[in-house]
Symmetry: C2
């Protein structure tokens, strides 16, 4: 039987999502360990994608297999929520079709990046501090150039194992909350390259600071050259927000599990 | 010259507000040290009141004295924001009258207490987890009994150094956000006793769980006996939200300092 398990985590104290040699504290390792204890056999979790060290997830869908059906899903998610450490929690658990795949069945991923502009002890773990004034209109004019399908080589990390660099972006927008002195960038696309969102945000922030013009941003994108990005924005501002699937009804069904 | 300095802090890694013998990491000690470095002389900070270990502050007003007027307040708050560690930041700095006192001039204090009911890795440092369903109507019926002036001996800690236990409560209300599965208790009063809010919240949560009836809560308040409270709710859910003063115009003036 195949099950979908959605996770939320504070990435501050995780070395990213993926299991690593040497036993680093990763989300995958911690959750596989807890599920294995509860189900009394080794469990392999497949995530919708990796998140880097320090990156958070509001919704990281995963799947795993069991030989026997799980008798009581409500009880399992309750016990899993209790067994897991405070910085990672399950948010949904439901049976899925044998061909449902957390990564390959996904049709769209959405990331949020949070910036705060006034020193604030309550935002430091989940947002990046930018002290300089930012021209949000210019940042949005540049972000609009990302819409549609483009080659994102400029905003990719070396060493990524990918056949091509094309991504189809449906949404890319900054929303400012002037009173709170915060900004949120939301970007949705069919796929993301390694490091892409943080490289985009780092470069869009340079547009906001006036270091790079909107046309220069567009030229950097078109150039397909890594040297044209401004470098990655800090990890703690980034959250994997949502992953969409074709089987929407199925995916929603499990979203208010009774935990605990 | 006397100056008012407002602070915000994440109390998680502080041993409360007040300087302690032995050099514990307290908010007062950390800020006095930073201010002393910038002003090149020992500075004594007077807070509006103490907060316990693990308790947060959205607005903790303080005052301090200097022999000479500070030439550039914008520059000082900017430098202070940079020098202080990430978990405590200044939010306002302004000159006040020589008789303005962070503690004695205060006319009202407001605390917020946050509860979350669904396991959530993003709320754990600033809210207390309560897994059981809560009867918010009953909690509000009990909270309404606190309005007006009462003796709060039942909800005080031993060892408090106070001439009397009477407090005048203007606001005491729970607001639930069903979608987020969170609750916020807001309480405003002319003064608070040591441990009072956490003892009130602990007992109101027992009303919510059905362990104590609303009438029983009223009887506990009237009894003026410490043994009638249910014990303190956890520190991390509590935030000193706001302190009000008579000189409202003066207080507001400094609220959007240019930092940095």
């Amino acid at each position: 039987m195949r099950y979908r398990l959605d996770l939320a985590y504070d990435g501050t104290q995780f070395t990213g999502w993926q299991v690593q040699p040497g036993g680093a504290r990763t989300v995958q390792a911690v959750v596989e360990d807890a599920l294995g204890k509860l189900l009394r056999r080794p469990i392999h979790l497949t995530g919708s994608g990796r998140t880097d060290t320090g990156v958070h997830a509001h919704q990281q869908p995963t799947h795993f297999e069991t030989e026997q059906p799980i008798a009581d899903l409500d009880q399992l998610i309750y016990r899993l929520a209790r067994l897991l450490p405070p910085d990672v929690k399950p948010t949904a658990l439901l049976p899925v079709a044998p061909d449902w795949h957390a990564r390959f069945s996904a049709t769209e991923r959405t990331y949020h990046y949070h910036v705060y502009q006034r020193p604030d002890p309550f935002r430091r773990f989940f947002a990046a501090f930018v002290g300089q004034p930012l021209d949000v209109d210019a940042m949005n004019a540049a972000a609009a150039l990302l819409l549609g399908e483009h080659d994102f080589t400029t905003f990719s990390k070396t060493g990524g194992n990918t056949a091509h660099y094309r991504c189809r972006v449906r949404e890319a927008q900054w929303v400012a909350d002037a009173e709170a002195a915060t900004l949120r960038f939301a970007i949705s696309a069919n796929r993301f390259l390694r490091g892409q969102v943080r490289l985009l945000v780092g470069t869009l922030l340079d547009v906001g600071r006036g270091r790079l013009k909107v046309a220069g941003f567009g030229a950097a994108l078109a150039a397909q050259e890594r040297a044209r990005s401004s470098g990655a924005a800090p990890a703690q501002g980034l959250t994997l927000w949502r992953v969409a699937y074709q089987h929407a009804a199925l995916a929603e069904e499990g979203f208010a599990p009774r935990i605990p």
